[in-house]
């Protein structure tokens, strides 16, 4: 089935219009007025029944996170919006913040009301600092609105300094506390001991908007999309060798084949799902691979590669990124990334035998279980999925 670009766009837009939760224009004040009337249990029930999982990539059930935080006994609790969007190939949070910041704030306020937090922080990626004036203005207005509504909740903005690791929630907290961005030991988890040692919920930008929409729709609509394991929809950032690029909100649960048919250029050989920390799906697996938590999860990044691309260079690009962005504190990640980078170079230049690749795969597997945080643990994802599917390209 070969479609023209126009046909593809028409189909994609029809799909988008059908879903349309994230970018739908709503009156957030009306929603907040409704929130103030709803009791927390009802709202929690909506979130629970929606089946919403974190949209940052890790997919932790949002209800569980909020519930754990709500149960904590503490004089102070915090809600943090993780806007440190740093995954290569992801650029959707930026658009959401540009166009729908009030919905993000509303999601935070809902969370705050439910868990009993009085302060919210937006941790904004350093490279998105151009958004600071806009967000500050909107936030000040929102804070005033909350005062008027009688909700004890204020928002604050914090800028990151450009480190990818600060998207990891405990590194983000360290950074907010003025320390080096390094992942903490877990447990304790942030819902128990987070920012300044207090219970803290950290959610991705998109997750918070979905929370607002789920409450607005009283649990409806969202859960009509997706699959049982991957409920709802998701905003995708589509890039690479695509006929149609950009940011699109689509249902979860489609196969890579369906996705490639809609977005690809007709010559797609592989799709990198979830950025540098995600999985590479080769053409032979397109049909059976579902985009979602039952197949390949993604924080939104969808990179399409056609047959002109060298998988060696693609892998090298990811590995060099990880090698540089590792915080450096734990051994498997700091040294492991260097070994993977230099290792495939050595194989390429015939300084090590092809069988050395097997040693590197074993190492990557160890990194997956031994690294302290998600960064080091996920290096194995692109490494193993690319090496196993494109071994020839890596060696020769």
């Amino acid at each position: 089935m070969v479609m023209t670009r126009e046909e593809k766009l028409a189909r994609i837009n029809a799909h988008q219009d059908r879903v349309n939760l994230i970018f739908e224009q709503i009156n957030y004040l009306d929603l907040m007025a409704k929130v103030m009337k709803l009791d927390n249990e009802t709202m929690m029930q909506y979130i629970k029944e929606s089946g919403l999982k974190g949209r940052g990539g890790a997919g932790f059930p949002t209800y569980l996170k909020w519930n754990l935080a709500a149960k904590q006994n503490s004089d102070m609790k915090y809600v943090i919006c993780n806007a440190d969007e740093g995954e290569p190939g992801t650029f959707k949070d930026r658009k959401i913040l540009e166009e729908q910041s009030n919905k993000v704030f509303t999601g935070m306020a809902i969370c705050a009301k439910i868990i009993g937090a009085s302060e919210g922080y937006i941790y904004l990626r350093g490279e998105y600092n151009y958004l600071v004036p806009l967000l500050t203005t909107k936030m000040n207005d929102f804070n005033q609105d909350m005062k008027n509504l009688g909700l004890d909740f204020s928002l604050y903005l914090r800028s990151g300094s450009g480190a990818y690791i600060c998207g990891e929630e405990t590194a983000l907290i360290e950074s907010m506390e003025g320390k080096r961005g390094e992942a903490r030991n877990k447990p304790p988890y942030p819902v128990v001991e987070g920012y300044l040692g207090k219970p803290t919920v950290i959610n991705n930008v998109e997750t918070l908007v979905y929370c607002a929409m789920i409450v607005l729709n009283e649990g409806g609509k969202f859960k009509t999309f997706g699959t049982e394991i991957s409920a709802g929809s998701k905003v995708f950032s589509v890039s690479g060798d695509a006929d149609v690029e950009g940011i699109y909100e689509l249902e979860l649960g489609m196969t890579i084949q369906e996705f490639v048919d809609l977005f690809g250029d007709g010559d797609t050989k592989a799709v990198q799902v979830g950025g540098a920390s995600g999985f590479c799906v080769p053409r032979k697996n397109f049909k059976e691979t579902i985009i979602g938590f039952e197949g390949v999860p993604t924080g939104g990044s969808m990179m399409l590669f056609n047959s002109t691309r060298s998988m060696y260079h693609i892998l090298m690009n990811y590995l060099e990124f990880m090698e540089e962005e590792s915080c450096g504190q734990c051994t498997p990640c700091r040294v492991g990334c260097q070994q993977l980078v230099k290792g495939i170079q050595a194989i390429k230049h015939k300084k090590r035998p092809a069988t050395y690749l097997d040693e590197l795969v074993k190492l990557a597997k160890s990194m997956r279980v031994a690294s302290k945080c998600g960064l080091g643990q996920s290096v194995a994802n692109p490494f193993i999925s690319i090496v196993e599917n494109f071994r020839e390209e890596i060696i020769y």
């Binding site: 690791i165 030991n185 447990p187 450096g328 504190q329 051994t331 290792g343 160890s366 031994a370 302290k372």
Partner: protein, 597 residues
């Protein structure tokens, strides 16, 4: 909370059930079952890091391995410490560390005492699987006390945590990320040019050869071999209870007199004792305290109180950097090491008929900061460098092994005279609270003519490993000369570890210090836990060395500095009187304001 209130948690480790209090780490729980899990970044003195990943274990149901040092047990946890997954990952971690580390073991100062080497040996990493990544870093030898070689660093951050948590100095920090991540100083300056106190806690906490003392062993051998030189050695109070550890003995053995014999066998021409000048310090410092109290209480003059001890050169440099507006609180007395130097090169040289220019003074110290102290420009009271070389306990251990001395079988020897005789008061300088106790024993007696009212002279409130200790002593039955002190409550405080010193100084800075006299030692536990002491130093070992120091005191015939006959002689012969002209020239010093960064 008493032990009974602790919730007990049941877990299974390697198939063995165990019940342990909640919040116990998996690492400690395994220890109770006699399972040793290897560690590198873990150190009981320091907060948990969980970054080396050597101590990982498998917890059933968990997606990833868990760092056992950082993970508390949870009910019904099923833990495997030696599964295939654990072994593979652990071996990979060790291999990775080795690939990054300049593994020049045979030429390494820590060969044989390196924790990474031990681990590599245990796991029989005889063939490197991975590529060699070590960088040819330049060794930082800018400091006279501490040497830093990044090519051997495994980034465990023990040094950073020691410097920050124990010492509140933060000379060392982590910079950069990824492959470039390194342990460095403010703006990557050389160690000599940053706020470093030379305390050496980074050295004693370093698992590898990345941080070591600057080693002067060859210089000392050269001096010994030079027939034209008369080489004098002085031994610090704390080393006589720790040097045994360097020659294969258990911690806490008192080996004072074997040490004397060993030093003579090494070829030192005069074997003398820093304990003697510790006694002298008490006389001078005790009189300085009484002098300050007299000025304040009788003459109502403005003098700086509390007075603070000045024996610990790490502490001195710290206060010069961090609290330079309060240097007037420091006793002007030099440390025992630096009192010894000028006396050796003036009085003692004359006594034995040696030209001071031909005299080399070597001191054996539990300390790295003493190396810095010896090269301070103020320390040339004799007209020459008062102390030529400072060796740590570890360096002396090296010399003993090089010389093939079977230390444990040596017969006892006696110190030379003069500057060789000491009292128990001098000995306890080695433990936190010891200077305070020694000073109180003498000062109380000077003021009242009576012995300090504690059972067997044990001034117990100032003893022990608590971070900040406080005590007060009512002065009663004063001699006429000191009747203005009658009924006064002498309030004292003792701090060890610079983080505790900082608390005391913050209080002083705010004008709320209630004390008359404060003792501060830079290192946790005092000199027995010094930066030059045998590695490892843990709280258990500190306790053993401390016990030995107090034993040493109790076994001495004389236990009060002012009863030391050689002290009496040196005042009669040479110094005339405490705080006299000669004392000021040779035994007292000044301090300098240093920058805060």
């Amino acid at each position: 909370m008493s032990a009974n209130d602790l919730k007990m948690i049941n877990v299974m480790i390697d198939g063995q059930p165990v019940s342990i209090p909640e919040n116990t780490t998996i690492l400690d729980a395994a220890k109770m079952l006699s399972i040793n899990i290897p560690t590198l970044c873990h150190h009981e003195d320091l907060c948990v890091a969980g970054n080396c990943r050597v101590c990982m274990v498998e917890v059933k149901g968990s997606r990833t391995l868990q760092a056992s040092c950082a993970t508390p047990v949870a009910e019904n946890m099923e833990i495997y410490t030696n599964s295939r997954l654990v072994r593979t990952a652990r071996k990979h971690v060790i291999e990775l560390l080795l690939s990054e580390h300049r593994g020049d073991c045979l030429r390494c100062y820590r060969n044989g005492t390196c924790e990474l080497q031990a681990l590599a040996n245990e796991y029989r990493i005889d063939q490197g699987v991975f590529l060699d990544l070590h960088k040819a870093d330049q060794v930082d030898i800018s400091s006279p006390a501490i040497q830093k070689d990044d090519s051997k660093c495994i980034r465990c951050q023990r040094c950073v945590r020691a410097c920050t948590e124990l010492q509140a100095v933060s000379a060392l920090c982590v910079a950069h990320k990824g492959a470039d991540m390194k342990i460095t100083t403010f703006w990557d300056k050389a160690l000599a040019y940053v706020v470093c106190t030379n305390c050496g806690q980074c050295v004693t906490h370093c698992p590898t050869g990345a941080l070591t003392e600057r080693n002067y062993v060859e210089d000392v051998w050269d001096a010994i071999y030079d027939p034209s030189k008369h080489v004098v050695v002085q031994t610090a109070p704390a080393i006589r209870v720790s040097i045994g550890e360097e020659v294969g003995m258990e911690p806490g053995q008192r080996v004072t007199h074997k040490l004397v014999t060993a030093l003579r066998r090494l070829g030192f021409d005069s074997v003398l004792d820093t304990d003697f000048t510790a006694d002298l310090t008490i006389i001078e410092e005790g009189h300085e305290l009484i002098h300050r109290l007299t000025k304040a209480l009788r003459d109502k003059e403005d003098v700086s109180l509390p007075m603070i001890t000045s024996c610990s050169p790490g502490w001195i440099k710290y206060v010069e950097h961090e609290f330079s507006d309060h240097l007037d609180h420091l006793s002007t007395c030099k440390s025992p090491q630096q009192m010894f130097g000028p006396l050796a090169k003036t009085y003692y040289a004359e006594k034995i008929g040696v030209d001071p220019k031909d005299m080399i003074v070597v001191s054996i110290m539990p300390c790295t900061a003493k190396k810095f102290e010896a090269v301070r420009p103020e320390m040339m009271a004799s007209g020459l460098r008062d102390v030529d070389y400072v060796l740590t306990t570890r360096e002396l251990g090296l010399m003993l092994r090089q010389a093939g001395i079977n230390f444990q079988n040596l017969e006892d020897g006696e110190y030379d005279s003069i500057l060789g005789k000491s009292t128990g008061a001098g000995a306890i300088f080695g433990a936190t609270g010891g200077v305070m106790e020694a000073a109180l024993r003498t000062a109380y007696e000077v003021v009242t003519g009576k012995e300090i009212p504690f059972d067997n002279l044990r001034v117990t409130p100032v003893r022990g490993l608590e971070g900040v200790k406080e005590a007060s002593l009512k002065i009663e039955g004063t001699l006429n000369k000191y009747n203005f002190l009658e009924g006064a409550e002498l309030r004292v405080a003792i701090g060890h570890g610079l983080a505790n010193a900082r608390k005391i100084m913050k209080q002083l800075e705010s004008g709320e210090s209630p004390y008359h006299f404060i003792e501060i030692m830079a290192c946790p536990g005092g000199c027995i836990g010094g930066g030059g002491q045998p590695i490892p130093t843990t709280n258990e070992i500190r306790m053993k060395r401390t016990t030995a120091i107090y034993d040493e005191d109790e076994k001495m015939q004389l236990r009060k500095s002012h009863e030391n006959p050689e002290i009496k002689t040196i005042y009669e012969d040479f110094l005339e009187k405490p705080l006299g002209h000669k004392s000021h020239e040779l035994l007292h010093t000044t301090y300098v304001k240093r920058e805060k960064n």
